[in-house]
């Protein structure tokens, strides 16, 4: 059922994104787009030791990509860098988005995590 993908929680994160905006002081930032639909996410990270201290994102795109970025920003805070590096895209969808994503929306659902992983590589 299509309504399961557009669950209340997803719509809420889409409309009221958490940690939306830019960090004035950050250690790394990264940006990427999802070519088929033009979703765009930029993530700013300020580290606290080996952990993610502060994280913010900006961007635009479909409900899935934006909700995923918002949810990621919530769970990533205080996580050790390693955890993000280790996190598989499938696990992120299953454990954190908690919706059934098929191939065509995989890029939307994983854009934010891809950007965050790329940002951390620059550290």
């Amino acid at each position: 059922m299509i309504e399961e993908i557009y669950a209340e929680r997803i719509l809420d994160h889409y409309r009221n994104p958490r940690n939306y905006g830019k960090l004035k002081k950050y250690d790394v930032k990264a940006r990427d787009v999802n070519i088929p639909c033009g979703d765009e996410i930029e993530i700013f990270v300020k580290m606290k030791g080996n952990k993610i201290g502060k994280i913010k994102f900006t961007g635009h795109g479909c409900a899935i990509s934006q909700a995923a970025a918002s949810i990621l920003s919530e769970i990533a805070k205080d996580l050790p860098k390693k955890e993000i590096e280790k996190m598989s895209y499938e696990d992120f969808i299953k454990k954190h988005l908690k919706i059934n994503i098929t191939y065509r929306r995989f890029g939307c659902a994983t854009l934010a995590l891809r950007v965050l992983k790329n940002a951390l590589k620059k550290l």
């Binding site: 993908i5 557009y6 409309r15 639909c37 033009g38 765009e40 899935i64």
Partner: protein, 404 residues
């Protein structure tokens, strides 16, 4: 009036169920579905007369060549060109690039004029040519009603204009541009027309339009993928140098020089996509039997109904002309607060196929102030029921997103 029952029966894919629902295929601007006559022609080619063309003396070679050239004849007649003016390429994009590469050897300085409503394939080749040659790249704007701003276009054309590259119909806005008029006002510049969206819907007469190049794709007009057409006016085709070198396009080769084959072979290097060209000939015959006048009449009828219905949907913004005469049945829109990608995904759950995204027209998206649009595009097998399904589908999108 079209015989809708008969037409629907010609397209086997319309029987396919999507998510348990009847397929409502409204992504025709991306590619059309194929009638069984075209599919059968492909099978027939491979089963009965597959051979290389223009080189084999045996019977199969002769049959394949004959069918291939018959397709060329069909295409020529379809747009009122001469056979030698029809060059088969792999798609509209390749046709436009062929035009850009051959013209690049002709022109040195000055400017190239195009419009903000171009598909990337009639924008980037010219933009890049201008960058390489340090020429000026000029982009004409659109009006508030999403039609081409002719005043702006003419103000950009001057004595130094070498090429005018313009789309006949916008793949996003659906706007029809008056190519004949621009040809008259355009002066001495080469005139290159992107007919990817017009050839499937409008009767084209290249002699009347008086253009130098005109390109389109078979797959948007019932033909297979992998075939495009580039019309090049004879005198221009004779004067310019070929784009690709190789087999087929050659008359004589010496150690130090080569003589080109006659038109149109001069521009068709290597073994072409024989099967798909042959099947494309069948697609043109199909369109001819239906009649382009009827195709257009149907398109207008759907446009009129769609404009009326879409106007009533709260929160829906349409990007395209509101007068039927200015447009074809391509409807790009956004629903307030909902991304086009989500619109398309939810419509798909109802069996409705629409496009979402930037539609390969990023400069236009920026001009419209959006990142993407949802696009419903109709063809002759779409009827009022399909439109109704779309309208109901859009209501569902709004329900899922809890907006009204």
């Amino acid at each position: 009036m079209l015989d809708m029952n008969k037409i629907k029966k010609d397209f086997p894919i319309l029987r396919v169920k999507i998510n348990g629902k009847r397929l409502v295929y409204l992504d025709n601007a991306a590619t059309s579905q194929k009638p069984k006559q075209v599919i059968q022609k492909l099978v027939e080619y491979y089963e009965c007369f597959n051979a290389n063309i223009h080189r084999s003396i045996h019977t199969l070679g002769e049959m394949a060549t004959e069918e291939f050239e018959k397709a060329r004849k069909e295409v020529a007649k379809f747009i009122n060109a001469k056979e030698e003016e029809i060059i088969f390429v792999k798609n509209c994009t390749e046709g436009l690039n062929l035009a850009a590469y051959t013209l690049a050897r002709e022109i040195k300085s000055g400017n190239i004029v195009t419009s903000i409503m171009e598909h990337h394939s009639n924008f980037v080749p010219w933009q890049q040519l201008c960058i390489r040659k340090r020429m000026e790249f000029r982009v004409a704007d659109i009006n508030e009603d999403f039609t081409l701003n002719y005043e702006d276009l003419y103000s950009k054309i001057n004595k130094r204009t070498r090429v005018i590259a313009l789309t006949h119909v916008s793949n996003i806005l659906g706007s029809i541009n008056d190519i004949g008029k621009v040809a008259k006002e355009g002066g001495d510049a080469y005139f290159v027309v992107d007919a990817a969206q017009s050839a499937p819907h409008l009767k084209i007469n290249v002699k009347k339009l008086d253009v130098d190049f005109l390109a389109f794709s078979a797959h948007k007009m019932f033909g297979p993928t992998g075939v495009g057409v580039l019309y090049v006016r004879k005198d221009v085709a004779e004067r310019l140098n070929p784009f690709l070198y190789g087999g087929e396009m050659i008359k004589e080769v010496y150690i130090t020089k080569t003589k080109w084959n006659k038109l149109p072979y001069k521009y068709e290097a290597g073994t072409p996509n024989i099967a798909d060209v042959v099947a494309f000939g069948e697609a043109i015959r199909y369109l001819r039997r239906v009649g382009m006048n009827k195709v257009r009449a149907h398109d207008k009828k759907i446009s009129k109904l769609a404009l009326r219905e879409l106007k009533n949907i709260r929160g829906l913004k349409l990007y395209g002309p509101t007068k039927v005469k200015d447009r074809i049945a391509i409807f790009s829109f956004n629903i307030k607060g909902i991304h086009s990608h989500d619109v398309a995904h939810i419509l798909d759950s109802e069996g409705i196929a629409v496009r979402s995204g930037h539609g390969c027209a990023m400069p236009l998206m920026r001009r419209l102030g959006v990142n993407s649009v949802a696009r419903a595009s109709f063809y002759i097998y779409n009827d009022e029921k399909d439109l109704e399904a779309l309208i109901k589908g859009i209501e569902k999108v709004k329900r899922v997103f809890k907006v009204d």
